[in-house]
């Protein structure tokens, strides 16, 4: 099996991807959006060309808006992010954006989140993340509860967990990168995407590992001597097509969702896309080769 034989190359590739993701995470950082931070998000467009952003920013300042950001969106619109509005600011908003009727404006979306709701959501998101991780940990422990030779079952679980970590770090790093260039912010949909990736990806790894153990058992029953690397490689080959194909159909639908689907779920589908691909990659190119490496290392001791 090529992947097992050249596993060191794939380890290097995986390492590079993870380091790149981590660098992206630390350099660009993840920025909480209105959902989590509280504040105001306004998406608006102009029917006859948008006014200059400097000018618009000036009139927003006059109206008492502070620390806001204005980003171009679409052909003739902007996205405005600001703190919580006062009643007077809210009342004045459409007048300010239209330059007192000079540029007819359509407010497509207006979201205001109070600081307490933001905090509550942040807590809930954190709890959800911890809960999903915990449940999946239990799930892995359950899936690998039977002891097997020559690698003990907790190592399978540990490696599955490492693969899972990879599957989350990569889309997060990607999202930080995306945020730097398009202004995408961490919202509830992003958290949803990460949790969905966790649920989807863990299983791919488990399937390959299950097959490894099934083949080990068959070898034992038939008294067949086979190198562990050989068995692992054979198992990987048997599950390779199904791993790729199950992800492929999901990738197809996500690609369609990204290119054709609603604008509000575009970042979401992109995050999922990266996560699902990372998940499939890790179950094939990281998990099983790692298993072989660990087995070699333990035997060498």
């Amino acid at each position: 099996m090529v992947i097992i034989r050249y596993r060191n190359i794939f380890f290097a590739v995986t390492g590079a991807i993870i380091i790149a993701s981590l660098i992206s995470l630390f350099v660009f950082g993840l920025h909480f959006g209105t959902d989590f931070k509280g504040g105001t998000l306004v998406q608006f467009s102009y029917n006859s060309g948008r006014p200059d952003s400097v000018k618009l920013g000036g009139s927003l300042k006059v109206a008492g808006f502070e620390g806001f950001s204005l980003r171009e969106a679409g052909e003739a619109g902007y996205i405005l992010r600001a703190g919580n509005m006062t009643e007077a600011q809210r009342a004045a908003l459409s007048g300010v954006l239209s330059g007192k009727g000079e540029h007819p404006v359509t407010i497509n979306q207006l979201t205001e989140v109070g600081p307490t709701i933001g905090k509550e959501l942040r807590n809930k998101a954190l709890i959800a993340l911890v809960l999903v991780l915990l449940c999946i940990l239990l799930f892995i422990a359950f899936a690998f509860r039977k002891v097997s030779q020559p690698v003990s079952s907790w190592i399978y679980g540990l490696i599955a967990l490492m693969a899972l970590l990879h599957d989350v770090v990569v889309p997060m790093g990607f999202f930080a990168f995306l945020g730097y260039f398009t202004g995408a912010q961490v919202d509830t949909l992003f958290v949803t995407a990460v949790l969905t990736i966790l649920g989807f990806s863990v299983h791919d790894t488990i399937v390959v590992f299950d097959r490894v153990r099934e083949n080990l058992r068959i070898n034992q029953e038939r008294n067949r001597k086979e190198d562990f690397a050989e068995t692992a490689g054979r198992s990987l080959g048997q599950t390779f097509v199904r791993s790729v194909n199950t992800s492929l159909t999901v990738v197809f639908t996500l690609l369609v969702l990204y290119f054709v689907g609603p604008a509000s779920t575009r970042d979401f589908s992109l995050t999922l896309l990266v996560g699902i691909i990372a998940g499939t990659y890790s179950s094939i190119f990281l998990a099983t080769p790692l298993l072989v490496a660990v087995e070699r290392w333990r035997r060498g001791k």
Partner: protein
């Protein structure tokens, strides 16, 4: 074999029937899909109720009264199908917060909606100008019919539901007892003395809630309203009077407005994405898995109509995130089929006859299918709990999708595969059962 084929035919017919049901329910608008505000356009306002002045047992009552009051206001505004509901939110450590969620489909002027709802309920008392109450109190004639009374809602201390025993030969008649405060007692005594026989109107936000007649002078500040109340009506009146007089202050904590055009766009894009998603998956399945792939594609269509019917029946409020979940689930729905077909192929390669290979394929792939669905369900359930309405929409659709697809992918495609009863021995059938780019 005949039986198997009959079942396959029945599944096809039921699938088509459900498809027709979904289509006609949508077109004739008998049971159309329920769209969330981000798809239909509209405004959602979330308020926090300040219940610091209200003790434990009255919380539920005052929230119900608040909801009724706001609902009445919203209805005055002429919004079609508004939703006003209370919700208990909270951060952590048992600190809860009573909230009121107002959804106004079609209203895109946030400011106007806030102004309408933002006021606290006002209880007013007015005297009827004439002696005969009209049959119908429509709000447009209130100002013509009534004049201001000397007493105001602030003077009312409390209203209580009681049962008046034996008065007028009617036992156990429910009545509402009003108690005025010390200042109100004096005003009310004067008012009743001067106006015996006249009608006394009580208004909540300008809408009459009760117009009793003053029978006699009431010097002690305790008035009894009796009439043809059912206990429920009397209770509601007492509640309205109480919380109209003691309004619950509300504070706006979040708003969300989506324009109808943006919503329409999202719906259109969502439908397009759904169509292309199905086409992509179906093409892939047929090109790669050939005959079994075609059957999986049919099972996928059965899955789609079944889930759409569930959306209409439950009904599930669809949001953009929900549509994304549905499209995602289309890609995941065939996963079970892929697992089964890959396993079947292995069994065929090992030299087993087709029917046995199919059987083995299904039974050996099952643990794997079960596990993958469990891990997805874990996520769906936790997401549903985590949920803001946006995420709940995603989680519900995702969870439903996982469950239904497990059923259709396994049972429907298996029935079809067995019903065909093709033995993969000769060239053409070998090809049909083959997969990938090899012949």
């Amino acid at each position: 074999m005949l039986q198997k084929r009959l079942i396959a035919l029945v599944i096809l017919l039921i699938g088509t029937g459900i498809g027709w049901f979904v289509y006609s329910a949508q077109v004739n608008a008998t049971r159309p899909f329920k769209l969330g505000l981000d798809l239909s356009g509209g405004t959602q306002l979330v308020y926090r109720a300040d219940l610091s002045a209200i003790t434990g047992s009255d919380v539920a009552d005052s929230m119900a009264s608040l909801r009724d009051t706001i609902e009445r206001r919203v209805n005055l505004f002429g919004v079609s199908e508004p939703i006003v509901q209370t919700q208990r939110g909270g951060t952590l450590a048992g600190k809860t917060e009573e909230r009121l969620i107002v959804e106004l489909p079609g209203v895109t002027d946030t400011q106007k909606a806030i102004e309408l709802i933002g006021q606290t309920p006002v209880l007013e008392f007015r005297m009827l100008k004439g002696d005969v109450p009209p049959a119908d109190f429509s709000t447009s004639t209130v100002d013509e019919l009534f004049e201001a009374a000397a007493i105001t809602g602030k003077d009312l201390k409390s209203a209580q539901l009681q049962f008046n025993q034996g008065v007028g030969g009617v036992p156990n008649e429910p009545v509402v007892v009003l108690t005025f405060n010390s200042e109100g007692k004096k005003i009310f005594a004067d008012l009743t003395k001067e106006n015996v026989g006249r009608f006394f109107g009580m208004f909540l936000d300008g809408v009459p809630i009760s117009v009793p007649v003053i029978r006699e002078a009431i010097p002690d500040g305790t008035a009894v309203i009796s009439g043809n109340f059912t206990p429920g009506e009397a209770k509601e009146l007492a509640r309205n009077l109480n919380f109209g007089a003691l309004p619950v202050p509300i504070e706006l904590i979040s708003t969300q407005t989506v324009s109808a055009t943006l919503g329409d766009e999202a719906v259109r894009d969502g439908i397009m994405a759904g169509l292309w998603g199905v086409i992509a998956v179906v093409l892939f399945m047929i090109l790669w898995y050939r005959l079994p792939g075609l059957l999986a594609a049919i099972a996928l269509l059965v899955y789609i109509v079944a889930v759409l019917a569930l959306f209409q029946l439950i009904p599930v409020t669809l949001t953009a995130a929900g549509i994304a979940a549905f499209i995602l689930s289309i890609g995941m729905a065939v996963d079970a089929n892929i697992l089964i077909f890959e396993r079947t192929k292995e069994e065929l390669r090992a030299g087993k006859p087709s029917d046995e290979a199919i059987h083995e394929g299904f039974s050996r792939a099952w643990p794997s299918i079960r596990d993958s669905n469990i891990s997805s369900m874990i996520t769906a359930v936790i997401l549903f709990w985590f949920g803001t309405s946006l995420i709940k929409g995603f989680a519900l659709v995702f969870g439903l999708g996982v469950l239904v697809s497990m059923l259709t992918a396994i049972s429907v495609s298996r029935t079809f595969l067995v019903a065909l009863g093709i033995e993969a021995k000769t060239g053409i059938t070998r090809f049909l059962f083959g997969s990938g780019i090899k012949v």
